[in-house]
Amino acid sequence: MTERIVIVGGGTGGSVLANDLADRLEPELDAGDVEVTLINDGPDHVYKPVWLYVPFGQREPADGRRALDELVDDAVELRIDRVTDIDTESQRLTFHGNAPTVGYDHLVLATGSTLEPDQIPGLAEGGHDYYSESGATALRDELLEFTEGDLVLSVIGTPHMCPAAPLEFVFMADDWFRERGLREDVDITYTYPIQRVHGNPHIAEWARPIMEERDIEVETFFNAESVDPEAETITSMEGTELDYDLLVSIPPHGGVDLIEEAGLGDDGWVDVDKHTLEAEAAENVYALGDTADTGVPNAGSVAHYQAGVVGQRLASEVRDRPATATYDGKTLCFIETGMDAASFVEFDYERPPSPAPPSEKLHWSKLAYNEAYWLTARGLL
């Protein structure tokens, strides 16, 4: 019998895992003992970190897109389709339309995050974002024309993708307006849901003095409740109202509905053992990246490291050996602190982050990694 491994989601986690398995299980794939299928609901792989640069006119959305069939090893069967149901009892997936169901022996869910701006009345009409291609290009059109007024960045969704990106955006905007001699005409305000400027206290402690130095206003304990696009105001659950001329938000995020429908976890996030990444509510199911509710940031580096762990564990299972690989919470992020400088953090479940002093070298390292990322997606780096 051929053992079937099915991966749902062709983002960073799914693509890295598919290529990892193609390499790791090469003998079994060649012999027809194992088949690996990667299912994605579109033909392209999207590298989302590119979007941070789009509003500043520095990158194009196309820079973050590549066809999955160019990135994924030929030994992996690529299926462009939408999964509509997961039955973890019979171990079968149902697809959009009348396509036959597909069975699995091992399932990996890497379906990622989706944006849910409609959770906040008025946000879709009044706010902009750089967490989607369409959002980033619409924001670019506004930002390039923006020369004076109140720019408000509001972190609404938590958890959200790339926890450093809101800080990066305001640091970059500050520098960008300064370089163009416009900073005195632009007020920048950053809002955050809790009493710090970042969820992680170590990063918050590092970022707050930089924000003060750069004259970036901060509103903490600000949980957006509604946006009035006519009056150009955003109001929080805590009763604070802010005027804006340009509102940039990190919208509420959610996972895909089929995870909750399958009883694997709330809000589209799969409840997992945070070390083995095995789903708690079903056998033979793993989750990784944003989809796995581990408490670590929703970041590409996390998905990348977790894919290596799941790849090792699946190879062990296929070979009837005990699976011993575990995820230690490793996370790695570059944090832009302006248009020409960046910091860097690396941390895990046990070791907290300690941001490196910002430097031009780290900024170029970040840009270089963004190019080298395509090697990561191919499973080479």
Partner: protein
């Protein structure tokens, strides 16, 4: 021990980032006025974070049960 019956529980034990308070806020956001949410947290920081936020947001912290390895916070949405 309290005899408060929560409408929902948020188990944030082990949550490192963004942390238990963020999880609580997320649950409160979707709750109805008058609902009681129970937050389980093993971070000591919640003992200061949660009361600060509930006061700021006008919600009521009904009770805190301090345990050996985690604390339980009962918050009623205003």
């Amino acid at each position: 021990m309290t005899d408060i019956e929560p409408d929902a529980t948020v188990d944030a034990r082990g949550a490192a980032c963004p942390g238990p308070l963020m999880d609580l806020i997320g649950k409160i956001r979707g709750a109805e006025s008058g609902d009681v949410i129970r937050l389980l947290s093993d971070t000591d920081q919640s003992l200061t974070d949660v009361p600060e936020w509930t006061e700021e947001a006008g919600n009521e912290l009904l009770a805190v049960e301090e345990g050996d390895d985690h604390n339980a916070f009962y918050v009623e949405k205003a």
